[in-house]
């Protein structure tokens, strides 16, 4: 089983509400702070993007459902800070902390531009891919992290156990299933796999419609 975040294909969510074009303004002032705080704290390098995604995913389902987007970010950030020993529960409860010297890896304003422009590339050297474009593969069933019960994985439940066609090969990328849990980068070939919408949903809205997913080699077997 996966977790509450894995909602692709779910029924009952109502309409999508479009917004004006252009740069997206923050709806609330605290949204600005939540984004800046999350990225600035992320700049400490104390966790990976996979760990931060998993911190949001492992919120209690009732919290995940009722929290707005940036509330999820803030809750996950607080949980990560405590898990990494950077902040204590007592400090969260008090809403304040004693002054301390700057952390050795404090993300400084002068580093922000270069660091954002550099990002964190996830491509790695690794063995040649086992599959080639056009191969038919089948995904793991059920969708799960095979190393950590309840752990992070990027195979959505709606695509588990399905046969699809390799359409792109991206080289090897860091494996989220291990990297989210401090178990190493374990890079594997990454593929884009196309699935027929009719196979995923029982019937497609129109013939020829497809859904593609980016999937690591260990999620796949030859079909």
């Amino acid at each position: 089983m996966t977790r509450v975040h894995d909602m692709g294909g779910r029924w009952g969510d109502g309409p999508v509400v479009p917004e004006p074009q252009g740069i997206v303004p923050f709806a609330e002032d605290w949204h600005r702070t939540a984004l800046a705080l999350t990225l600035a704290a992320g700049g400490l390098g104390a966790w990976t993007i996979d760990a931060s995604r998993h911190a949001r995913e492992r919120l209690a389902p009732k919290d995940y459902a009722r929290f707005s987007y940036y509330e999820k970010w803030i809750a996950a950030l607080a949980d990560l800070l405590v898990a990494e020993g950077l902040v204590t529960g007592a400090e969260l409860a008090a809403g304040k902390a004693a002054s301390a010297a700057p952390h050795p890896r404090l993300f400084r304003a002068g580093s922000v531009g270069p660091a954002l422009a550099r990002g964190t590339p996830y491509a790695r050297p690794a063995a040649a891919p086992a599959f080639t474009v056009g191969d038919i593969v089948r995904t793991r069933l059920p969708a799960r992290n095979t190393r950590v019960p309840g752990g992070h994985t990027r195979l959505p439940a709606y695509a588990a156990g399905q046969a699809g066609r390799i359409v792109l090969i991206h080289g090897a990328h860091v494996l989220p299933d291990t990297n989210a849990h401090g178990l190493g980068e374990c890079p594997e070939p990454l593929y884009t796999v196309a699935f027929r919408a009719g196979d995923l949903w029982g019937e497609a809205e129109a013939p020829g419609d497809e859904v593609t997913l980016d999937l690591w080699q260990s999620y796949l077997e030859r079909a």
């Binding site: 894995d6 692709g8 509400v17 252009g22 923050f26 902040v87 922000v112 996830y122 178990l183 690591w216």
Partner: protein, 206 residues
């Protein structure tokens, strides 16, 4: 076997319940402890409120419409092609450009979270991050498109790209008719954010 953190262990619940107060409390703690520099927060916001947004992706699309060699490079290796225009970085480390044709309309979603090509489009709109879009875009993309006022012609298939890895997808919409004499700047003005996600089409020239 390694264990996940205990599922009942949620320190965030110690923070105040009001979201604005929670964020303020966390900011106060992190700044006091030397874990976050306020000036760095300012620089991050300046980046995404003023510098990085869909105007950058629109320039890429307009260049692809105008320059066949650039279009070929973009479809071959979009990461390198956009880097040559000074576009790179966080949440856009690995870019793939997917081109709409009369046969295929491309549309991008992240059902598991909110993956989005930040260096090209900026911060995602709320609808992109909404449960409704994440849940429905893969199962009923044409109904979702209708909510954006888009109806595809018969015979044009939909390919929905669920962004499950660190690859970020940029949709290259079809160049509108009647734009033959327009320069790149004029073309870029027609390229909406939603047309590069695949939930919209470019504007028509006036």
């Amino acid at each position: 076997m390694p264990h996940d953190h205990a599922d009942h262990d949620h320190p965030h619940s110690l923070l105040p319940s009001d979201p604005a107060l929670r964020v303020k409390a966390l900011e106060t703690i992190l700044v006091a402890k030397g874990l976050v520099e306020p000036a760095a927060m300012g620089a991050i916001l300046d980046t995404y409120e003023r510098r990085v947004g869909p105007h950058l992706g629109a320039a890429v699309v307009a260049r692809a419409w105008s320059d066949p060699a650039f279009r070929a490079q973009l479809l071959e290796d979009a990461t390198a092609a956009v880097a040559a225009l000074g576009i790179s970085g966080r949440q856009g480390e690995h870019v793939v450009a997917v081109e709409n044709t009369p046969e295929v309309h491309n549309m991008v979603v992240c059902t598991l979270c909110s993956c989005y090509p930040w260096p090209l489009l900026g911060i995602p709109p709320a609808w992109y991050k909404s449960d409704a879009y994440r849940a429905r875009a893969v199962r009923e993309p044409r109904r979702v498109l209708a909510e954006f006022g888009v109806t595809l012609p018969d015979g044009q298939a939909v390919r929905v790209w669920d962004s499950t890895a660190e690859v970020r997808y940029l949709v290259i919409p079809m160049r509108p008719e009647g734009t033959g004499g327009m320069d790149e700047a004029a073309l870029a003005a027609l390229v909406t954010r939603d047309s590069m996600i695949g939930t919209g089409l470019p504007e028509r020239p006036r």
